[in-house]
């Protein structure tokens, strides 16, 4: 089986390529890169006028299966992924049950395979049931396919347990990922603590709640030598702490979401939960620090924290409504909106090169012999209409906004799984 992505501007930072090139994929692997490659027998993706990049990897996604399939399924979530230009996603373990056993991880991978769309890389739990009391079986989980470990939103309270977890997993080349919110400082907060929360009479979470956990976990990373990744940073101080840790030789990376780059805590005047997310949207100084942190290289990864919920759930009272936004289908445009002057090579690094490296998964380049995962996107304005999402979740503060960039085609394992606005599972795509 041959697929030819023809005539696009190929941006492959690891190969130092930024030029119009054809990419030929044979039997799932890149076979050639060049100009005017032979298209006979090949399924052709016309990429003229568009940008061709190694497949984008969203390393922070909630697929909700098993356990909460009214919010999302592996099939709907991976359809959203490829429609948004992602060839792979890493899924967080806050399913029901949690991804804390090899059997569940294997089942997730089997269902992802059956869906035949994006690659799915499970992230295992750090503690059993994400309960923060017993460490999870890392070796079994890694053997089953886990590419990282995280307790996601259930930030472990117990520093001794977390230290032991990192020591126990030290010989596994699998990073730990921290969602940094001190549960005590956060309390019952529904938004950021600041002038807006004070005015509205709403409980606010101070940025300090993130900073103290970032500091703690970086120190545990330094102590144990474990590689560490800080999920969705939202404060200027977090970035300062990460810079400090790197200066001390700690192997730490971090990510930022489109919503924290685009929005601030001024979206609660209607007391709806549409802007409720963890960590919360912060104030202008923090948002500006995040933008600067992308431009100066402190931030390694763009990730969406794709968190779909039912419309009825999100319509509950602010205190009861769940946190998070669906993100896969707006990500490319939303990141471009927030950082219009970011060089395209950096854009590709943040969405492909770096997540592949951090997770230790294939991709990040289209060098000959690497997997045929390709993202084609264009500098083309479009208006977000959440009703058209493949995701079951329509909860996004970007709904209705005009974004400057979008995915136009997605190739996974040499199969065109998204093109002309249509999602095509791999089996159909191959026919």
């Amino acid at each position: 089986m041959k697929t030819l992505v023809r005539g696009g501007r190929l941006i492959d930072p690891l190969q130092g390529i930024d030029a119009v090139r054809d990419v030929l994929i044979e039997n799932g692997f890149v076979a050639a890169i060049g100009e005017g490659l032979d298209a006979s027998d090949a399924r052709v993706v016309e990429a003229g006028g568009a940008i061709v990049a190694p497949g984008f990897i969203d390393m922070h996604v909630h697929l909700r299966e098993p356990g909460q399939t009214h919010k999302e399924t592996i099939a709907s979530g991976t359809a959203a992924a490829v429609a948004g230009g992602f060839t792979a996603v890493a899924c967080m373990p806050n399913t029901e049950p949690a991804l804390d056993s090899a059997a569940i991880v294997s089942e997730v991978m089997r269902r992802a395979d059956a869906a035949g769309l994006a690659r799915v890389y499970p992230i295992g739990a750090i503690t059993r049931a994400r309960a923060g009391t017993e460490i999870a079986p890392y070796h079994l989980l890694a053997d089953a396919g886990c590419v990282a470990f995280s307790d996601d939103g259930a930030t472990p309270r117990d520093a001794r347990l977390l230290r032991n977890a990192a020591r126990y997993a030290a010989d596994l080349a699998v990073t730990f990922i921290s969602h940094c919110e001190d549960p005590d400082l956060k309390g019952d907060a529904v938004m950021n603590e600041g002038a807006a929360s004070m005015r509205l009479g709403l409980d606010g979470a101070p940025g300090l709640g993130e900073d103290v956990i970032v500091a703690r976990d970086l120190l545990i990373a330094a102590d144990t030598g474990k590689t560490w990744h800080i999920a969705h940073v939202t404060t200027a101080t977090s970035l300062d702490l990460i810079r400090w840790a790197r200066g001390r030789g700690v192997r730490v990376t971090c990510e930022v979401t489109p919503h924290h780059l685009a929005f601030v805590d001024d979206r609660f005047d209607d007391y709806r939960a549409d802007a409720k997310v963890n960590p919360p949207l912060r104030g202008v100084p923090d948002r500006d620090a995040l933008r600067a942190g992308v431009l100066d290289g402190t931030i390694d990864v763009f990730a969406t924290d794709h968190a779909p919920h039912g419309a009825d759930e999100k319509a509950q009272l602010l205190s009861a409504a769940p946190v998070g936004f669906t993100g896969l289908e707006i990500a490319i445009g939303a990141f471009a909106l927030a950082l219009p002057r970011l060089p395209l090579a950096r854009f590709v690094e943040l969405l492909s090169v770096n997540p592949a490296r951090i997770l230790g998964v294939p991709g990040g380049t289209l060098a000959v012999g690497t997997p045929g995962d390709v993202t084609v996107f264009a500098e083309r304005e479009w208006t977000v209409d959440a009703r058209l999402f493949r995701s079951k979740g329509r909860n996004t503060p970007f709904d209705g906004m005009v974004l400057p960039r979008r995915a136009v085609a997605t190739v996974v394992d040499g199969a065109v799984v998204f093109e002309h606005g249509q999602v095509l599972p791999r089996e159909e795509a191959a026919v």
Partner: protein
């Protein structure tokens, strides 16, 4: 056009606010005929317990001739299982046209008003707003001083958790009143400072300078929450008591939204002091609420 609601004081223009107070004064002077809201079904929906506010609203509603329904669903039933939109649709379908609502969550009144095809009056939402309380406080101030502009008012205590303070800050700023907030940093964070709103920590320095002092209720659960050390420690700096009454000006007045915690934010001497206006406040409350209902349902005769 959706029906008007009163969710906070600034849902009124400054001119409307004054018109509501004028109308409340007129009602106090001469009770109107009981037909201003004749046959209008008004639902008192109090998710959070209330004695004074619920009684005051009920009396106000009866005095304007409304069909009054009172329902205290408790904290957990309505608004949790059923969506707010469904609740609003159901109540409107039954025939309710005005809802007076109190709820323990900030923003509940707003969410209900956005979904309900009728008038909503906020009788207190969480720590956010309590506009009719602010209106009755403003009515009491005007009754005393005859004007608002340049008045100096101190609000003392747990500002962070006070919907009364928030609504008064909004209303007082609309009318040019100079507001000073006094309390410990845990209950009065610096974010409350803005144009026309000062933060002070020293009650003794503030008292001689103000025309009115509003003492907020202090709740004991703030101690277990780590926001206060002890009641002794609090009262030593922020309690209005016999000694501090001496530094309050002779023509100044004392306001309290109630209910009191005697011996906490104030002592018995304060309640007996001739400058205390608690009774005037609750008395005015009924007329303010009549005026608000009249405005929302019948429209405002605002002088241009």
């Amino acid at each position: 056009m959706p029906a008007r609601s009163l969710l906070d004081v600034d849902d009124l223009s400054p001119a409307e606010l004054v018109a509501v107070l004028d109308r409340a004064v007129a009602f106090r002077d001469v009770l109107p005929p009981r037909d201003l809201l004749a046959g209008v079904p008004v639902l008192n929906l109090f998710f959070e317990a209330s004695t004074r506010t619920a009684t005051s609203f009920t009396l106000a509603e009866q005095r304007v001739g409304a069909d009054v329904i009172s329902f205290a669903p408790g904290a957990s039933s309505l608004g949790k299982g059923e969506t707010i939109a469904d609740t609003a649709l159901t109540l409107h379908g039954i025939g309710v046209r005005v809802i007076v609502v109190r709820h323990q969550e900030s923003g509940f009144a707003r969410r209900l008003a956005d979904a309900f095809e009728g008038n909503v009056v906020n009788a207190g939402d969480g720590t956010h707003a309590h506009p009719t309380q602010a209106l009755l406080d403003l009515m009491t101030l005007r009754q005393e001083f005859g004007h608002f502009d340049g008045l100096r008012v101190a609000i003392v205590g747990d500002i962070l958790h006070s919907r009364v303070a928030r609504s008064n800050i909004v209303g007082m700023r609309m009318l040019g009143i100079d507001v000073t907030l006094v309390g410990p940093p845990t209950l009065l964070p610096p974010e409350f400072a803005r144009s026309g709103v000062r933060i002070e920590r020293d009650l003794d320095a503030v008292l001689p300078r103000v025309d009115a002092v509003m003492m907020l209720r202090i709740q004991r659960e703030r101690i277990t929450g780590g926001l206060l050390a002890s009641l002794d420690d609090y009262t030593q700096r922020y309690q209005l008591n016999r000694a501090r009454l001496r530094s309050l000006g002779a023509s100044a007045i004392i306001l309290h939204p109630g209910p009191y915690n005697r011996g906490v934010e104030l002592t018995d001497e304060v309640l007996d002091d001739p400058r205390s206006r608690y009774v005037a406040q609750v008395h005015n409350g009924v007329f303010v609420r009549m005026a608000v209902l009249d405005l929302l349902v019948n429209g405002a005769p605002v002088a241009a």
